[in-house]
Amino acid sequence: MSRPFVMAYNKDLLAAAGIEKPATSWDELAEQAKKMTKDGTYGIATGYKDNFDPWKFIWAMSVQAGNPLVDGDTFKMDDPAVKKAYETYFGWLTEDKVVDPASVGWSNSNAVAAFASGKAGYLMMTTSSSIPTLEKSEVAGKYEYALMPTIAPGETESKSEDDAASILSGDNLVVADYSKQKDLAFAYIKLVTSKEEQLNYQKIFGDLPANAEALASLSDPKLKPLAEAAEKSQATPFTGAWGDMQLGLLNVTVQSIPDLAAGKVDSSALEARIKEAQEKGQASLDRASKG
């Protein structure tokens, strides 16, 4: 199954602010969000205390700026693109003031709730699994999905080979090298990835099929941007050290939340936090290449 990440937007709020098309660059996103922010309505809904979202933003912006974070045996979190990504992500709150200040305590579900009540223009980092909630909310029929921006902050065109619209997300099936039942395992994989089974799963859980034929047979127009995001998804670096790296990326946000709430993330404090995560991630990568 695949769960590509997209953003949802409130058609009425965008139209009221005179915005014709959802943003395709992060800079444009902030500009549009500013226009929509007034009287208790915010341009963007996102949760800074979510256990996953923060690192996905940083990863995506960094990849789009041409830094996929891992280069061979080197972890590149100390790259300026990463700091820029944090500054952009935190900046929505501290500089642009386009997110609800309470979102320092939100997880993704709080952000979905804010968007569902019609109080936000964009809902970031969401998937098709938000459809059941949104269809029963005030914004039913008033929202659409769109690709998240693919142009890195401060840039005017994509610097990455692929668009990296979303992190490649979904479920993986692995057959161990030392398995004694490889044939059976492969037969199982063939079964669960068949068109029929994948469509059946989609009906029940809302996740998009990983089977291309099955994906093409879905006709709901709402799912189109999701299918496109699935195509433009990129995987996180394939290394055993990724767990630590992800934890480090997330931890920078966790430890910055008090500053965020105070309205200003100090540049040198941010650098120190990035440096610490860089060191831990590199140490973990060293162990991975040794093992």
Binding site: K49, N51, P101, A102, V104, G105, Y178, G240, G243, D244, L247, L250, N251, V254, Q255, I257, P258, A261, S284, R287, A288, G291
Partner: protein, 337 residues
């Protein structure tokens, strides 16, 4: 984890209560009991059917001893996601994990946070529990209801307590709004330096009834005659409390203190549910650190070393506790009860 701890506490509460009852029964007829007990002890010891302990002992070995030994052995292995397949035949690296845990991980800071938070929570809950026990000692209308209400925080699962408090502590949540009506802006509860005090506060809320329970059992042990005697001597309430009642509470409360400390140091559910992972640096307590090392970084060997260090840390108060209750010579006449 939490079930274990609460079982342990319940056991302790029961034993404290039964010892209190024993004390009560012993005091009036102390002399005859003392004289006859050594002889009886000799007789019963000879014919004890010790083989009946085999099933229990077998279970203890499987459930406690084997995992303990395995855990200690794991702490000497380079066991991580890359070597997990080989498990106990992973490379043996001696004390390297311990060295890394102490020198290159936030372990010492975590120990400091765990111990200080436990101690603060304990010191605050003691007077609260005693006050509650004293207040409900004398019969009044509705006492049974009040006593039941007092136990609510104690019977709620940690997970529920933490979830509810987390919701209340949200930025612009109910607590912020309540304080806002008095013009107080308290700042963040769940992140930053204040999160430490949030943890202490919630722990206090959740655990004072335990002190209350044990203090209550201590109060039950105070004889009616003692109350009468002190009343005859003209002792007023404070003197009576200070010199007559409190000495009775010393045993149960020392017990409560130790078990409470153990429970707080071991408490994983509360900080995990309140703050999530990765935890803010101010509440990265020992169990959280061990958990993250194991299940986020997949360094099982290192985390086993951390767990072993926390076991040693806990063994210190545990040792004192075992000495205090004197499980080994409960039958001997002079044992402190």
């Amino acid at each position: 984890m939490s079930t274990d701890a609460s079982n342990e506490i319940r056991l302790a509460a029961e034993s404290a209560a039964s010892r209190a009852a024993e004390t009560a029964a012993d005091v009036p007829g102390q002399e005859p009991g003392n004289q006859s007990s050594p002889r009886r002890k000799g007789l019963s010891e000879r014919d004890r059917p010790l083989w009946m302990l085999i099933p229990g002992g077998f279970l203890m070995i499987i459930i406690i001893v084997v995992p303990l030994v395995l855990g200690i052995y794991m702490s000497a292995l380079d066991l991580d996601q890359y070597t997990l397949r080989k498990w106990i035949s992973s490379p043996f690296i001696g004390v390297e994990n311990f060295v890394e845990a102490v020198t290159a991980s936030p372990l010492l800071n975590a120990v400091w946070l765990s111990v200080s938070y436990s101690l603060i929570a304990m010191v605050v809950t003691l007077p609260l529990g005693i006050a509650a026990a004293v207040a409900t000692q004398n019969a009044f209308k509705g006492r049974a209801v009040i006593r039941s209400v007092f136990l609510i925080p104690y019977v709620l699962p940690s997970f529920v307590v933490a979830t509810v408090w987390r919701t209340m502590f949200q930025p612009e949540g109910i607590i912020d709004r309540a304080l806002g009506t008095f013009g107080i802006d308290a700042g963040l509860w769940l992140n930053g330096p204040q999160s430490f005090w949030t943890l202490v506060l919630v722990q206090i809320w959740a655990s004072w009834p335990f002190i209350y329970l044990l203090a209550l059992s201590g109060l039950q042990a105070v004889d009616h005659e003692v109350h009468e005697a002190s009343a005859l001597d003209g002792a007023l309430w404070w003197n009576k409390l200070r010199y007559v009642v409190f000495p009775y509470l010393k045993g149960p409360l020392a017990l409560a203190f130790l078990i409470g400390m153990l429970h707080h140091i071991n408490n994983f559910t509360l900080p995990f549910v309140l703050f999530g992972v990765p935890a803010p640096a101010d509440v990265e307590v020992l169990p959280i650190l061990t958990y993250v090392t194991s299940f986020q970084s997949f360094r099982f060997g290192l985390s086993a070393a951390m767990a072993f260090i926390s076991l040693v840390l806990i063994a210190i108060p545990l040792f004192i506790y075992l000495r205090a209750v004197k499980l080994d010579d409960a039958e001997s006449p002079g044992a402190k009860k």
